[in-house]
């Protein structure tokens, strides 16, 4: 049994992890940068350690500072949350070498899946379908052009070491590829420390559907259901739901089985997510990437399964069994998550500033995972996520009805937020019908 955990993260996910730690009687240790000292998660932890100035490189990404904080507080384990050091195999190894428990998959799995090209090749070998794409990094623009000829346009240009939707662009033809290639490389270098690029066949009007997996200590990998994450702007998710309205029972069974196989192929342990693209018309799917961490949108899976995924991560990391009977998982009802971002609802441009009012909605089926409160300053150093508004209902209709009321009842003043956009989304015919794809936001904002 792990008796203390240092949460190497901030904002809403740090708060959410701390909540489970406290509920299960585990001492919660928070770390915070100078910009985050007043955030709710800091005072809700049992102990909080300042780890540096605002810029992530000097605080949340400073592995030495985090490990030092763990040593000083006597933390028995480190939970990395998502982003920051969560998928850094070197950090995971350092945590383990320091004699602490790493709440996450083995560093080898992180390493294997951290490179998208590697991951694709491995999945293909394991019998998981992948889109036509690069089997090795594309060295330069000439190689890119040759590769795109082989794959066929349009292509997606992606950072092989990337994630979070950052650094991706589409090229409809050779001219666009030539124009976009160097930008993609420099972005890849800047954001992920590696200029390696891969090209993938672009699937038009695809749905982005992912599967939650849980790798157990007895080597089984469970697939706990899928989430539809097609509502995106700038290739970043802004709303998710489960089950996916675009996935039939037959496709669901195939995807969940493939996701479990994917996990087994890398000896996965703990919580992870297998991301795929689905062609709703043909009911075909392809593997995109595996995220070797807890995902932002995990709450909607929790709401339909009744399982606390962070609790399962801790149990698995401690070497034991999960708290539920794997064969008995029966998803119930429908859940949707709306990411409340500090950005204007029209052009989605960042809107940092002081929060002067913060009033959360409540009611049956409503769960708010908030990173901020009134009086907090939203700074430009981190992602724009203010809170996750999650709503459950017995049916999709009920979940959406409750979500509309919850959005209307969420009052944030200070920074601009995308709450008005979520109201529009929930009112739109396309989203309400369930027949939407990854270009839905583009149609609401032409």
């Amino acid at each position: 049994m792990i008796d203390s955990v240092l949460v190497a993260n901030r904002g809403e996910i740090a708060r959410r992890i701390i909540r489970t730690l406290r509920r299960t009687g585990i001492r919660a240790i928070a770390v915070y940068s100078e910009a985050d000292a007043a955030l709710p998660y800091v005072r809700e932890a049992d102990e909080a350690v300042p780890i540096g100035p605002a810029p992530p490189a000097r605080s949340y990404l400073d592995a030495g500072a985090v490990l030092d904080a763990a040593r000083r507080t006597g933390a028995a384990a480190i939970h990395p949350g998502y982003g920051f050091l969560a998928e850094n195999a070197g950090f995971a190894t350092a945590v383990i070498d320091a004699g602490l428990t790493w709440v996450g998959p083995p560093p080898s799995a992180i390493e294997l899946m951290g490179d998208k090209i590697n991951a694709r090749n491995l999945m293909e070998a394991a019998g998981v379908p992948v889109a036509a794409g690069s089997r090795e990094p594309v060295a330069d623009v000439a190689a890119a052009v040759a590769e795109a000829e082989r794959i066929g346009y349009p292509v997606m240009i992606k950072a092989a070491a990337g994630g979070g939707g950052i650094g991706m662009s589409a090229a409809a033809n050779e001219a666009a590829l030539r124009a976009g290639f160097e930008t993609a490389r420099s972005r890849a270098e800047r954001f992920f420390g590696s200029a390696a690029i891969l090209l993938e066949r672009y699937i038009d009007r695809a749905r982005h559907v992912e599967v939650q997996i849980l790798g157990l200590n007895d080597s089984r990998v469970l697939a706990l259901g899928e989430r539809d994450c097609s509502v995106q702007r700038r290739h970043q998710k802004i709303a998710e739901e489960t089950p996916s309205p675009g996935v039939t029972p037959g496709l669901r069974a195939r995807m969940l089985a493939a996701a479990a196989r994917a996990g087994e192929a890398v000896g996965y342990l703990g919580a992870g997510t297998v991301e795929c693209l689905v062609d709703a018309a043909s009911q075909e799917f392809v593997f995109l990437e595996m995220n070797t961490r807890i995902q932002v949108e995990h709450p909607i899976t929790e709401m339909v399964t009744g399982i606390d995924l962070v609790e399962q991560q801790l149990l698995i990391a401690a070497g034991g069994d999960v708290s539920f009977a794997p064969e008995s998982v029966q998803p119930d009802g429908h859940a949707v998550e709306l990411r409340v971002y500090a950005e204007d609802p029209v052009r989605f441009l960042p809107s940092p500033g002081l929060i002067t009012e913060w009033e959360e909605p409540s009611g049956p089926g409503v769960r708010v995972d908030a990173g901020y409160a009134a009086g907090n300053e939203v700074t430009p150093f981190y992602d724009p996520l203010l809170a996750k508004l999650c709503v459950h209902g017995a049916s999709r209709d009920e979940a959406l009805r409750r979500a509309r009321a919850a959005v209307a009842g969420f009052r944030i003043r200070g920074p601009k937020t995308n709450l008005p956009f979520h109201a529009e989304l929930l009112d739109s015919d396309e989203f309400t019908s369930g027949r939407y794809d990854t270009s839905v936001v583009g149609r609401l904002r032409p």
Binding site: P55, G164, I166, R234, A342, E343, L349, P350, S351, P352, G353, T379, P380, F381, Y382, D383, P384
Partner: protein, 91 residues
């Protein structure tokens, strides 16, 4: 303050002001200065990128809104700018 001037005088003053126009480029929001693209002394055209800011993982190019010469570059890479802070002066 235009009190007491005749319409003809306003036009002349307007033309004079336009000839000596100084454009101050200011930050529209709190952000980090990620890249400084232009340098003091550069000639820029309308739409040229002066600096690229970064806020909450998004890149925000700051463009020249008219042609001219960059007479002052007030920021360096790594700076944090507040809303309204001066970034550059173009004349």
């Amino acid at each position: 303050m235009m009190v007491g001037l005749l319409p003809g005088a306003v036009d002349r003053r307007g033309a004079e002001a336009r000839r000596l126009r100084v454009a101050e480029v200011r930050a529209e929001m709190v952000a980090n200065v990620w890249q400084v693209v232009a340098s003091e002394g550069d000639s820029v055209a309308d739409g040229d990128t002066l600096v690229v800011l970064e806020s909450m993982k998004m890149e925000i190019p700051v463009l020249a809104e008219a042609a001219g010469t960059v007479t002052k570059l007030a920021v360096a890479e790594g700076d944090v700018v507040q809303e309204g802070d001066l970034i550059a002066v173009i004349e």
